[in-house]
């Protein structure tokens, strides 16, 4: 909603209020100011009058004018086609600096002296609202020839753009905003006399028009008839429509729009002949319900749908003819409910009607006819034809105590009464400390106590309410979700501390890609109905594709090493949500530096597993064949945490690496709920020295370490507290075998182990290995 100070001033006198103050007030009463644009026509641009206008002797398109500029008469050459004698115009005199920077100087145009310039709206920095030069008229107010334009409020004004909330349809007009400001500044609106003083001299509308309706459609309609003749729009009206960035095809539509913008009443103009009957019978308007359930104005055919749109054929034109002007009101909840049931194409008025237009129809219709009389040679028919619903104002009761409690401060009773009165509410039935408030129809948004409190809050000003801490009952409010937050926080910090960057991706992903890589996506009958783009058309079943895409982007940005992680939700085909944590490490192990001679090695399985255990703690890996196609078939493991499968860890399949354009890449995706988040307990530990033994075993290449491990576990003595591989070596002489060195750590709780204790432990393991796997020392 765009307003200007001069336009607003026609409805409420705020000439003593600065624009800064006005903007502050608008914001504080809940009419949010989005933008303020001040403009002023530069100095030495003045009001003038064309006294004579003759064709230039040597140029077809130029005119030589004698222009009265108050102090003198100047000769000015003008190229506009609409310049003529008798016209009041805007003159840029010698020395004027135009908004585009040009300085006006005396010039010779094809041999004729010209002392100044007759200006168009655009040339003086205004919206382009009129073709050719500005034709001034009484709409800009009083002026004298020679006076600077900047002294006139139309030419030096502030444009204020307000962003209205959805509930304030009553402020979609200059008058509506003036009404709210009248409460804020405690001053009354200007009275605009809408009475028709010529009423008795006019032919009654009833002689040419009748209205019938088939059933109660909750609609208010009011018609006036006009014999339209020579409607000419005044300059200010054209300028203001250009300022609010609206344009209509005909003068009559422009005028109606101006009135709607001024008063909030929704208006339409019909061509009378659309409704005219046979021969001499009078025209008939029928109000009916159409096939979609909307109230419609009808002749033989549909003329308009109330509050929604108008049919082209029924529209009035600027031709000399009889027209009907209609003011309408339909309750916003009725129209928007109907629109949600059955959507039909809407016109420019729907926004207004669905948010609540002005229900007091004569405010708009009366104002409109005043302007028609002023700016045309039309004659108006007397009386009007109308259809009104029976409406009684809503009544809301609220006590002073309730108001004070909701606000949290004591508000003066007289102040409350005054605020409500200025907002147009009737409080005459109030008793003692109980307010009984009758709500005017234009405030359809006010239905309960809290709505009334809101009105008081916004006019008292929230800044004037002192802040107060809430007094609460102490209670332990640390619930499960808080501990989940702490757990996420813990693992995220560990991830970051181990060199991974936290990444966040949309939970949407591309179905085609996911299916291609063998992931099952959301079942068809549960799928997204209205995805935003094709590449985000399903819910992700994995975090990995998002991370791989980010890896690829980073690689393209020149990062040779990419380490990312994400904690986020994924969805099963049945759309069940679960939390995962995933890691990706791609390309080089570390940055190029003195440490690696500028040639860092590529990430490998062992380093990835080592780093991951720094993040998530202890785990084991088992051989695994995944259901999807992202993994390298020979470097893929299942991650077991405390004996429970927690997820997958693998190298990306070389073909997939190629498809994403990335280097060697390892990933791991884990079920976040399985990651441990419990307090640790300390075990008893031995005070005696530990002993170490390294054994090199000759093992077939095809044998999995897990087989060895199982046998050692089955044959280990109480003293063997730990064993782990430390070297794996192969060469030609070993053939199909490898040499695997294991370190055994032995320790007793009772004593320092003797050589024979150690030997007997180790021998038992060697015997077991020989017996079960047929392997022995190298």
């Amino acid at each position: 909603m765009i307003i200007t100070r001069s336009w607003l001033n026609e409805w409420i006198d705020l000439s003593d209020i600065s624009t800064d103050d006005l903007v502050k007030t608008l914001n504080s009463i809940g009419l949010e100011v989005d933008r303020v644009h001040s403009y002023s026509v530069p100095g030495k641009i003045i009001f003038g009058r064309v006294l004579e206008c003759e064709k230039h002797p040597d140029a077809d398109k130029l005119n030589v004018c004698k222009v009265d500029i108050g102090t003198s008469v100047r000769q000015i050459v003008c190229g506009a086609s609409n310049v003529r004698a008798g016209l009041d115009v805007v003159v840029a005199t010698i020395g004027a600096v135009m908004p585009n920077g040009i300085v006006i100087k005396p010039v010779k145009l094809r041999g004729v002296e010209s002392e100044g310039m007759i200006c168009s709206a655009k040339e003086i920095g205004l919206e382009d609202c009129q073709s050719g030069i500005i034709e001034l008229d009484s709409s800009v107010g009083n002026y004298t020839l020679g006076q600077e334009l900047s002294e006139n409020p139309i030419f030096s004004d502030d444009l204020i753009e307000i962003e209205l909330t959805a509930n304030r349809g009553d402020c979609l007009s200059i008058r509506g905003i003036a009404r709210d400001l009248s409460a804020a500044y405690d001053r009354s609106l200007k009275e605009i006399n809408l009475e028709d003083t010529h009423e008795d001299k006019r032919i009654g509308i009833g002689r040419i028009l009748s209205l019938s309706y088939e059933k109660d459609l909750n609609v208010n309609l009011r018609y006036k008839a006009v014999d339209l003749k020579n409607l000419d729009l005044p300059f200010v009206l054209k300028l203001r429509l250009a300022q609010i960035e609206e344009k209509r095809d005909t003068n009559i539509e422009s005028l109606l729009l101006y009135v709607t913008q001024s008063t909030g009443v929704v208006l339409r103009a019909y061509n009378y002949s659309f409704f005219a009957g046979e021969e001499d019978s009078i025209a008939k308007i029928e109000l009916i319900e159409d096939e979609n359930g909307y109230a419609c104005v009808h002749a033989k055919e549909k003329a308009s749908t109330v509050g929604i749109n108008q049919e082209e054929a029924s529209k009035a034109t600027d031709e000399e003819a009889t027209i009907l002007i209609e003011a309408s009101y339909i309750p916003p909840d009725i129209i928007s409910k109907q629109m949600s049931v059955c959507k039909i194409p809407s016109g420019p008025m729907y926004y207004r009607t669905s948010r609540g237009s002005e229900p007091e129809l004569n405010q708009g219709l009366g104002f409109c006819l005043k302007l028609v009389e002023k700016y045309s040679a039309s004659s108006i028919y007397g009386g009007n034809i109308e259809l009104c619903d029976a409406y009684e104002n809503k009544v809301v009761s609220v006590s002073k105590k309730e108001i004070d409690e909701i606000i949290g401060a004591v508000i003066d009773k007289a102040k409350i009464t005054k605020i409500l009165k200025n907002l147009g509410f009737n409080t005459s039935k109030s008793q003692a400390d109980n307010f009984v408030i009758s709500v005017p129809r234009f405030r359809h948004d006010i239905v309960n106590k809290q709505d009334i409190v809101e009105e008081i809050v916004r006019l008292v000003g929230i800044d004037n309410i002192p802040s107060k801490p809430f007094v609460l009952k102490e209670e332990n409010r640390l619930k499960d979700d808080y501990f989940l937050f702490k757990k996420r926080s813990l693992y995220r910090h560990k991830g970051a501390n181990n060199g991974f960057f936290e990444s966040v991706h949309f939970v949407f992903d591309e179905k085609k890609t996911l299916n291609h890589y063998g992931f099952e996506t959301t079942k068809e009958e549960l799928e997204l109905l209205n995805p935003i783009v094709n590449t985000l058309d399903t819910l992700r079943p994995t975090l990995l594709t998002g991370l791989l895409k980010a890896t690829s982007n980073n690689k393209n940005n020149g990062y040779a090493s990419v380490k990312l992680f994400e904690v986020g939700s994924v969805f099963s085909p049945l759309r069940e949500e679960s939390l995962k944590m995933a890691f990706v490490w791609s390309g080089e192990k570390e940055k190029e530096s003195l440490l690696n001679g500028g040639k860092p090695s590529k990430i490998d399985f062992a380093t990835f597993v080592q780093t991951l255990s720094n993040v998530i703690g202890g785990f084991e890996l088992t051989q695994h064949t995944p259901t999807h196609k992202l993994a390298h078939p020979y470097q893929c493991a299942q991650v077991m945490i405390n004996g429970v499968a927690a997820g997958e860890l693998f190298r990306i399949h070389p073909e997939v690496e190629e498809a994403y354009g990335i280097d060697v890449t390892y990933v791991c995706e884990l079920d976040f709920t399985i990651l441990p988040f419990t307090l640790k307990t300390a075990k008893q530990y031995s005070k005696y020295q530990a002993s170490y033994r390294d054994l090199s075993l000759l093992v077939p290449k095809s044998m999995s370490y897990s087989e060895l491990k199982a046998v050692i576990d089955a044959n280990k003595s109480e003293e063997l507290i730990r064993f782990y591989p430390v070297d794996r070596y192969s060469d030609k002489s070993l053939g199909e075998n490898v040499s695997l060195s294991l370190r055994f750590v032995l320790q007793s709780n009772d004593k320092t182990l003797e050589e024979e204790d150690i030997t007997s432990s180790i021998d038992k393991i060697l015997d077991g290995l020989k017996l079960n796997l047929g392997i022995g020392l190298r």
Partner: protein, 330 residues
């Protein structure tokens, strides 16, 4: 004897000094020699010779020790000098990762409210119409329910457009008093320079006995919270409209970039809108069958907070895992 003093003081290494020590003090050294010679001297001179020799012995020992300290110091210095490093070659070469600025901002927000005795509830992303709209006084014909704004599924479920459904579910499952926040991802069908289809919110709710919770209480906690998040800023409340609160307000802070003087970020207004809040609408309580209660609610967008706090210009960059952005938070 004098030449030995010179020899000690001219020794160039600890080894050379050791050779001198042996030559002077050793079993076959000159001192032993001199003492031996003394035996053949006349008796009356013996005492004087012995005294002189002992003086030399003490002096030489002292000189030897002194020289040794000097030489050791010089040798250590030489050794260390050989180990010299051009420290300027080395600098920060951080191999650490970093937390995502949005998640880190979310952490700070949660920590504030947890310390103010708010519970945390998270809920699910797939929601139904009742919890996301109906119960929040967003009737079927409300413009915010337009297909343009909400992601729907084929079975009429939807992706939550705010975290308010978590509040509805919590109210239905527990009894007042309630003091909670609901942090999490939310979804709107909007994708341009200033909108992403997924973003994060934290919404808060307080419910207590009727007449107990006031707008003044809401003002207190939000003013305190915004100062905790943004430091020394001015806080302004503007009346506004939300279907689920009444009275409602939008909360602005003085622009963190221009300190309220007006700049491009704040559209020359000096203020930045950061929060929406209000007193819970009676229709919301009616929907969850609460009686005789009062409450306040508020909600904020985490991305907006993160962008303002960390001066991040591009919203979409937050969802691309872009290391160019993330490495700045190491």
């Amino acid at each position: 004897m004098k030449e030995w003093y010179n020899a000690i003081n001219q020794a160039q290494s600890v080894e050379q000094l050791e050779e001198i020590r042996i030559a002077v003090f050793g079993k076959k050294g000159i001192l032993a020699d001199e003492f031996a010679k003394m035996k053949s001297a006349p008796d009356e001179e013996k005492a004087q010779i012995a005294k002189d020799l002992n003086t030399h012995k003490a002096n030489l020992t002292h000189e030897l020790m002194q020289r040794k300290i000097v030489l050791q110091t010089l040798e250590l210095e030489a050794k260390m000098k050989a180990e010299a490093i051009d420290v300027t070659l080395y600098g920060s070469n951080c191999e650490a990762g970093a937390l995502h600025p949005v998640m880190e901002t979310m952490d700070r927000i949660i920590e504030y409210f947890a310390s103010m005795n708010f519970s945390v509830y998270t809920g699910t992303m797939v929601e139904d119409d009742f919890n996301n709209f109906e119960a929040l006084n967003l009737p079927k014909y409300h413009p915010a329910r337009d297909m343009q704004d909400t992601f729907y599924f084929k079975d009429e479920m939807l992706l939550r457009t705010h975290t308010s459904p978590v509040q509805i579910r919590t109210m239905m499952q527990t009894k007042p008093p309630i003091r909670m926040i609901a942090p999490g991802a939310v979804f709107r069908r909007d994708y341009d320079i200033t909108h992403t289809p997924m973003f994060h919110q934290v919404e808060g709710l307080l419910v207590d006995e009727e007449g107990k919770v006031s707008f003044a209480n809401l003002k207190f906690i939000l003013e305190d919270f915004l100062k905790y998040m943004f430091g020394d800023v001015e806080v302004r409340f503007r009346p506004s409209f939300f279907p689920f609160t009444e009275p409602s307000a939008e909360v602005d802070i003085s622009c963190v970039f221009c300190k309220g003087h007006g700049c491009r970020v704040c559209s020359k207004t000096g203020w930045l809108e950061v929060l929406g809040c209000g007193i819970v609408d009676p229709n919301v309580f009616k929907a969850v069958k609460y009686k005789n209660v009062s409450g306040y609610a508020f909600g904020l967008g985490v991305e907006r907070f993160a962008m303002l706090i960390h001066q991040i210009g591009d919203l979409r960059s937050l969802f691309e895992g872009d290391i160019k952005l993330l490495e700045q938070f190491q």
